[in-house]
């Protein structure tokens, strides 16, 4: 964000608690000190819905989407806001404007009013934060045309995809993961450059393999790689694909892989019904890869319940590495 704030004057950040609290999860630490009030707007702890003020007129067209909460100020005619939700659970209080004002506006205005905004923040399960703070919103947002939905896994993803999201002229929902904030990764020389971007809409094969395609996003990509390492010792070679973008989904990469391995397992943290895995299943069936499947697709998902608090229950509510291993073996019938 620092690099993008430096590169383009129109970019600005609206975050709850960013100034004296240093951003609730410290993601925007230091930015206020560097860029000041004009570029970094701190919002009081409110989580209020968006107040929309339309300021239309002329070619310059003003669209001011002003959210007095996990903010969503969207100044058209120039500004490119980055709006942070303390977690995406709170975005539900503002979700009308994310969908009806951000996602649909360019379409409704027949091209007059683009909406270059990024909504970012932690998504999905954390540790011990219970039912109201643990939901995954990937499926909810990816359901809507007009939005791009991105879900980084490692540091390279986070940097490259966020920069692309900020440079993107359309609304991007950027789903981070709180438990990943503190995890360090090696970064290549190239990825450390200020112009390093990763294209939105392209998945990455994190680990090539020949026996089964394992598709995941966000934190669980790590779990899949761990499962793959265990299975490799038994002679099972998994091809692990990191989706990186949920919408538009890179179905071609998945299809190419399935046409090679003939088996597919999807892994996600969210609930099963109408989820990311469900969409992948549907798309595979509709495309050429279906005929290459030797077994039905297996979905590994969170348990279909609100997130419980007690540790033993929470541990059993999210996919564990052993669940992934079990599912892969079942799919391969070994």
């Amino acid at each position: 964000m620092d690099e993008e704030l430096e590169r383009d004057e129109r970019v600005f950040l609206m975050v709850e608690e960013v100034a004296q609290y240093d951003g609730a999860l410290q993601v925007s630490r230091g930015l206020w000190k560097k860029y000041g009030d004009k570029r970094i707007s701190t919002l009081p702890f409110l989580r209020v819905r968006i107040l929309i003020m339309w300021r239309s007129g002329g070619s310059g067209g003003g669209l001011l989407l002003f959210k007095t909460g996990p903010s969503l100020p969207l100044f058209q005619a120039g500004l490119r806001p980055i709006c942070e939700f303390m977690t995406f659970n709170f975005s539900m209080q503002a979700i009308d404007q994310v969908i009806n004002s951000a996602a649909k506006t360019y379409y409704m205005s027949a091209g007059l009013q683009p909406v270059p905004i990024v909504f970012r923040g932690p998504n999905g399960a954390s540790a011990g934060v219970a039912a109201q703070h643990s939901q995954c919103f990937a499926a909810w947002y990816a359901h809507c045309p007009g939005l791009k939905v991105v879900s980084p896994w490692n540091s390279e993803d986070a940097k490259g995809l966020l920069k692309s999201a900020i440079r993107e002229d359309n609304p991007v929902v950027f789903l981070e993961n709180e438990l990943m904030y503190g995890v360090p990764f090696e970064m290549s020389e190239e990825s450390q450059s200020k112009d390093f971007t990763i294209p939105i809409g392209k998945a990455k094969v994190e680990r090539p393999g020949s026996h089964v395609t394992v598709v995941s996003h966000s934190r669980l990509v790590g779990h899949c790689l761990d499962a793959a390492a265990v299975l490799a010792k038994e002679g099972i070679e998994c091809e692990v694909i990191n989706l990186r973008t949920i919408r538009p989904m890179d179905v071609e990469s998945i299809e190419a892989s399935v046409m090679k391995t003939n088996h597919l397992v999807t892994v996600e943290g969210g609930w099963p019904q109408f989820g990311v895995g469900a969409e992948i299943c549907a798309r595979i069936m509709e495309g050429p890869a279906f005929n290459y499947l030797d077994a039905p697709v297996t979905r590994v998902t969170g348990v279909d319940i609100p997130m419980p608090y007690a540790k033993i229950l929470e541990d059993h509510s999210v996919p564990q590495i052993k669940d992934i291993i079990f599912s892969i073996k079942k799919t391969l019938n070994v």
Binding site: E16, E17, Q20, Y21, D22, A24, T42, P44, F45, L46, R47, V48, R49, L51, T68, G69, N89, F90, M92, Q93, S126, A127, G128, V129, A130, A131, Q132, H133, P272, T298, R299, V300, T301, G302, V303, D304, I305, P306, P308, Y309, A310, K311, I312, L313, H316, S317, V318, P319, Q320, D323, F326, S327, K330
Partner: protein
């Protein structure tokens, strides 16, 4: 006088029902101590009200001891929770209430257990005043089967009869509170709902929508804004265009109350409850209070306020000290007697903590239960298609 006696007997009845809390109910007064005394409390600022709560209030020795014990129990319980959190025995979110005890105790003193109450996530104190036991509350914090929500809710999701939590999303509980009040009115049982929120939530749209509906429909709801001066790390001056939270209801009458004084809160609540029960509709109370801890356990609480400020409130306005000084200087209790209560409270907390750390976690069979109410058992998908779990109501 009649209502006062009713209130006293209600308080004592409530006290006697509480597990483990020894109620001092005595037909005779100890010859050494004053049975009751009159105290002066700060005048409440009013908004759209012709009258105000009394500034001279009477407190009996029994009431004083009960308030002291309850506040001390809440204080110690929160401090123990702090300890357990630092030991990582409590996980996730933990928003502590120490400093604000007078609010919960003062409110409960003027309502009945048959009334209703809903608040946000800084809820451990209210869970206690509404009838939860320290044991159940602490076991919920540690996520054990003996917890008030069987370990499934955690710090922010505790419930008991006529207490609707414990709500994690800022402000979302306020419309719910009005709904409870609507049910009260609809069922004609002369009950009311106390609906709490903080200075942070006070600027939200849904709060104002709720004000509107409550006033239109004359709902028996007491809106309570616990203004502890900071919404997370944002001071009220940086958050609100108007910090007169008691006036923000505009067409709803309001009171600004000294939230550090349990008697002031009690008196204001009495006034507010009467207003509601007489069918006049909603009323708003702003309780000016303070939290010693940060917003939650992950907030040290000193990056946006000074240690001096915290120390000053502690030394000049602590609700427990204030009550203690009043009782001692009016010869309503002895130092030893209060010390004895402290010892008993300490023991109760220790026992509860012991239970909370040794009680087993919930059984795995519980994982999928309580999805639906009054529903035939259903199958729940586990983490993969071969994991078929069971859910019973």
């Amino acid at each position: 006088c009649g209502t006062m006696l009713t209130n006293i007997s209600n308080v004592l009845r409530a006290c006697a029902q509480r597990n483990g809390a020894a109620a001092v109910i005595s037909a005779r007064t100890y010859a050494d101590f004053t049975a009751q005394a009159t105290f002066e409390v700060k005048k409440c600022d009013t908004h759209k009200l012709d009258e105000a709560p009394a500034t001279e209030v009477v407190m009996t020795r029994e009431e004083g001891l009960q308030y002291y014990r309850t506040m001390q129990t809440m204080r110690r319980m929160e401090l123990k929770a702090d300890q357990l959190y630092k030991q990582k025995i409590i996980r996730g979110f933990c928003h502590l209430y120490d400093g604000q005890e007078a609010c919960a105790v003062g409110i409960e003193a003027s309502i009945n257990l048959s009334d209703h109450l809903i608040t946000a996530y800084r809820a451990h104190g209210y869970t206690y005043t509404r009838g939860g036991t320290v044991k159940e509350i602490m076991a919920e914090l540690t996520g054990r089967r003996g917890g008030i929500a069987k370990g499934k809710g955690g710090s922010m999701h505790m419930y008991c009869k006529n207490f609707y939590g414990g709500n994690g999303i800022v402000g979302a509980q306020v419309p719910l509170g009005a709904g409870v009040a609507l049910a009260c009115k609809h069922q004609g049982r002369n009950e009311l709902c106390v609906c709490l929120y903080g200075d942070g939530a006070a600027n939200q749209g849904q709060i104002f929508e709720t004000y509107n509906m409550a006033a239109l429909w004359k709902l028996p709801v007491i809106f309570v804004c616990e203004n502890n001066r900071y919404g997370m790390g944002t001071s009220v001056e940086r958050a609100a265009a108007s910090t007169d939270y008691y006036k923000r209801g505009e067409f709803i009458p309001g009171l600004r109350v000294d939230g550090m004084d349990v008697l002031c809160v009690r008196e204001a609540t009495r006034f507010a409850a009467e207003h509601c029960r007489s069918g006049k509709g909603p009323i708003l109370m702003e309780l000016q209070t303070y939290r010693y801890h940060g917003h939650s356990m992950s907030d040290p609480g000193v990056s946006y306020r000074t240690r001096e400020e915290i120390q000053e409130v502690r030394s000049k306005s602590d609700p427990i000290s204030m009550l203690k000084d009043r009782m001692l200087s009016n010869n309503m209790a002895s130092v030893e007697e209060l010390k004895e209560i402290d010892v008993e409270v300490r023991k109760e907390i220790e026992d509860a903590a012991q239970f909370a750390t040794t009680d087993p976690e919930p059984p795995l069979e519980e994982l999928c239960n309580h999805i639906f109410y009054n529903n035939p058992p259903l199958d729940v998908r586990g983490t993969h298609p071969w994991s078929k779990l069971k859910s019973v109501s």
